[in-house]
């Protein structure tokens, strides 16, 4: 029987833009009660998280799904008092502010543990809670620049390509989710919460460890190398028939090399002196890529993929966003994702948590909620405030 393993875990979500809200998605998809805290004064920053109002497909696909939504302004004394009462009734507080901004809201572990010793605080700032860079102002694309990630992206010799999106954000959120789950498990034994200090830049660097190791061992900068690989050739993205159509091909064995030349109608190329072994192909990649590209240019990317895969060559068309939506393999996987909300099909949720696990499936329960939609539930039901008490806090500006 499928279960929601985080049921009963209550989370205060101060996530902004993408990295933060995605951690809330992960927690909510597995059953945690995630309360998105928005101060009306700051709500503009949360545009990505708060696609809300109508429970149509985009509200389920948005980073705001599976949330309760409250308004609260912890920067004033009344709001801070309410915030601390919420902390006393919660398991996890997380944010992706700079340390300075988090302090202004009162998200300080040393303070919050006095209120609730079981509380887990996860702060996922750009450069961490300490050190000379900790209060630097960065954006996703400048954070990848600062941490050397951008220096590896680009065509050979030119590290000046922008990511389409700041894709360090989702990676950082996934690391943060691991840390939070680990802290929950530790708490089962110790009964105590803890602080998770995560620097998004440091997490991003971990996935590119190879580049640091090469420098550390041999003082060599790998730099950007386009689509090339250090142990496979050809390994690239080649033009196909049609406007902006491409295929990816990675040759990982001599058998695959012979198969590729055969499918492309040039079996003679396989025994070309320059290309006859993997080592020789790695040494003659400019000529190799020109030769392959000339042969793929007249082919349909999908058809060529099928023919290459049938002979054991790793190949796949380069999909754009619409190609991703139409893709058979992704559609198959998406159809299997759990949706517990009425009127929504799995196909309409194009950013599921993409792990197939039948025992505790990531589940879409509810759409993003409008600003403050759950104030009654959270303040009256969870905190037990009455109308009079709420009015008092409201008059003092607690709810933004």
């Amino acid at each position: 029987m499928a279960i929601a393993p985080l049921k009963g875990i209550r989370v205060l979500d101060f996530g902004q833009v993408w990295a933060g809200p995605l951690l809330g998605v992960y927690l909510g998809d597995f059953g945690a009660e995630v309360i998105q805290v928005v101060s009306v004064a700051r709500s503009a920053v949360q545009a990505t998280a708060g696609v809300a109002g109508e429970p149509g497909p985009i509200a389920y696909s948005s980073l705001g799904r599976n949330r309760k939504a409250i308004t609260l302004d912890p920067t004033n004394a009344a709001g801070q008092e309410v915030f601390q009462r919420l902390v006393a009734a919660s398991d996890i507080v997380f944010d992706n502010f700079s340390p300075r901004a988090a302090r202004k809201l009162g998200i300080t572990y040393e303070l919050l543990r006095q209120v609730n010793s079981r509380i887990i605080v996860c702060s996922m700032s750009a450069a961490g809670q300490s050190g000379p860079w900790s209060d630097l102002l960065t954006y996703g694309p400048s954070l990848t620049a600062l941490y050397g990630i951008k220096s590896l992206l680009g065509y050979a010799g030119e590290s000046r390509i922008q990511e389409d999106v700041a894709d360090l954000d989702p990676t950082a959120a996934t690391y943060a989710f691991i840390a939070v789950l680990a802290a929950l498990r530790a708490r089962e034994r110790t009964g105590e919460g803890q602080l998770i200090d995560m620097a998004q830049g440091e997490a991003g660097l971990a996935s590119l460890a190879e580049a640091f190791l090469e420098y550390s061992f041999n003082g060599r900068e790998l730099g950007p190398s386009g689509n090339r690989n250090r142990r496979m050739a050809p390994h690239g993205i080649y033009p196909c028939l049609g406007e902006d159509r491409w295929i990816s091909i990675a040759v990982d064995s001599e058998a695959a090399w012979h198969a590729l030349c055969g499918v492309l109608g040039r079996p003679d190329l396989a025994s070309d002196d320059r290309f006859v072994t993997m080592f020789r192909r790695l040494g003659n990649q400019d000529a190799l890529d020109v030769a392959i590209g000339a042969l793929t240019a007249s082919q349909d990317a999908e058809e060529l993929t099928e023919r290459l895969q049938a002979t054991g060559v790793a190949a796949y068309p380069v999909l754009d966003s619409f190609g991703v939506i139409a893709n058979d393999q992704l559609a198959f996987r998406r159809a299997g994702y759990a949706v517990a909300a009425e009127g929504i099909t799995p196909e309409q949720v194009v950013n599921p948590t993409p792990w197939r696990m039948v025992g505790s499936p990531p589940t879409v329960y509810s759409p993003a909620r409008p600003l403050g939609a759950d104030n009654d539930y959270v303040y009256d039901t969870i905190l037990g405030m009455g109308a009079a008490e709420r009015a008092k806090f409201s008059a003092r500006g607690a709810f933004g």
Partner: protein, 402 residues
């Protein structure tokens, strides 16, 4: 202090990066991970980097990095006795992480059904490029195919040139990262329900649904175009661009007008800075190339360090495109102790990236270096399986272990 994942027992059966990174993330938080290596060794042993470019299977950087805090046993899965040991090991652990693929597992007699029947309490985490079910489950693929099949490549690069895949082997690392998160969810679920499950991780799906999710939602629901390659500049607002300076590149990005004003003041408020067409982050977009030319002629002869010092002083969010060598020296990473020391198979000191997160009460820590090939075979067979010394020697003699 205790480790967060103390008591969690994991077996890794795989090759190269994704499975090893998944179990590294678990081991570094305290899980007891046993890595199974075939007689020919993991392919990361031959990947390097090697000191002085001298190949050495006990001193390959990628292997050393990926296998900290694990125990290693040498097992020949092609031998019936090797498979038998593996089977007995699975009875004594909580999780199996594998990235071998269904065909290889079938060959060994450990297809999903067999695993479920023989080891109903075992969580099995499978990592592959396309996933273990579906029309492309038998497709061959590497990280390149995941970048291609997710729109990541299509949306990265110069519009007039080819799409760009994620660099190095980043997709394999991301597969391991997501697998570790899903595995921990399954561990929590098991502790509540006493039911184990199979987790099917697809790197293509990770890049499509998570990395590209918002872009694809925008395309599907019509709030934004399909997404194209942006080259060095994204034209949503300006500045959001990378420009060349004396010793490399700088990232110029801000949404705050005061940053721009402060930077213009630093440039001495040149005439073009007051051009009415350039007055805000949106009005500048159609004139981006013209403004870039002004910026490059104003600061193109300055170094990244010079410009960054100015930007930090005047509170502007422009950052250098650092190289890896810059990171190795960065005061921030030194301050936080990011880089950590371990040793290679000869006991020689090696510096590797450290904790991706700092947990105050149950910290990430490097306890033991990556195992030498077969280093813990005897220990694991005796302690975990309770074999006698003679039985271990016999298994070695028949070539099942080494």
């Amino acid at each position: 202090m205790t480790s967060a994942l103390e008591g969690l027992r994991v077996v890794e059966l795989g090759d190269f990066i994704s499975a090893a990174y998944c179990t590294k993330l678990l081991a570094d938080l305290g899980a007891d991970v046993v890595k199974i290596e075939p007689p020919e060794g993991d392919s990361t042993r031959s990947h390097g980097p090697f000191h002085g470019d001298i190949p050495d299977r006990d001193a390959s950087g990628l292997y050393i990095y990926l296998n900290t805090n694990k125990r290693g046993i040498g097992l020949d899965m092609r031998k019936a006795d090797g498979r038998d040991i593996f089977d007995r090991l699975l009875d004594r652990v909580d999780v199996l992480v594998e990235n071998l693929g269904t065909e290889q597992l079938d060959t060994f007699g450990f297809d999903a059904t067999a695993l479920r029947e023989r080891h109903p309490r075992l969580i099995v985490t499978s990592i592959s490029v396309f996933g273990r079910e579906g029309p492309h489950k038998h497709y061959r693929g590497h990280g390149l195919q995941a970048s291609a099949g997710s729109s990541v490549a299509f949306r990265t690069g110069d519009p007039a040139r080819s799409p760009l895949a994620k660099p190095l082997n980043e997709p394999e690392f991301l597969g391991g990262l997501h697998a570790a998160a899903a595995t921990l969810v399954a561990v929590l679920a098991y502790e509540q329900s006493a039911e184990a499950q199979h987790i099917d991780i697809s790197i293509q799906d990770i890049l499509a649904s998570v990395t590209s999710g918002p872009a694809i939602a925008n395309a599907l629901y019509g709030t934004r175009a399909a997404g194209t390659r942006n080259g060095h500049r994204v034209n949503a607002f300006f500045p959001w661009t990378v420009l060349p300076v004396a010793d490399g590149y700088m990232e110029f990005i801000t949404m705050q007008e005061r940053h721009w004003r402060h930077f213009m003041e630093y440039l001495g408020n040149p005439d073009w800075a007051n051009d009415e067409r350039f007055k805000d982050i949106y009005s500048r977009v159609p004139h981006a190339a013209e403004i870039e030319a002004h910026l490059v002629s104003a600061v193109g002869d300055k170094t990244r360090a010079e410009l960054w010092a100015v930007c930090r002083e005047i509170g502007v969010s422009f950052q250098p495109v650092n190289r890896i060598s810059d990171l190795a020296d960065a005061d921030q990473l030194r301050y936080r102790g990011y880089f950590q020391e371990t040793v290679d198979g000869h006991g020689k000191r090696v510096v590797v990236p450290g904790a991706p997160y700092k947990l105050s009460a149950s910290p990430w820590e490097l306890r033991t270096p990556a195992p030498r090939q077969g280093e813990h075979t005897v220990e694991v067979l005796r302690e975990t399986l309770g074999l006698s010394p003679l039985e271990v020697a016999d298994l070695c003699r028949v070539g099942a272990i080494y």
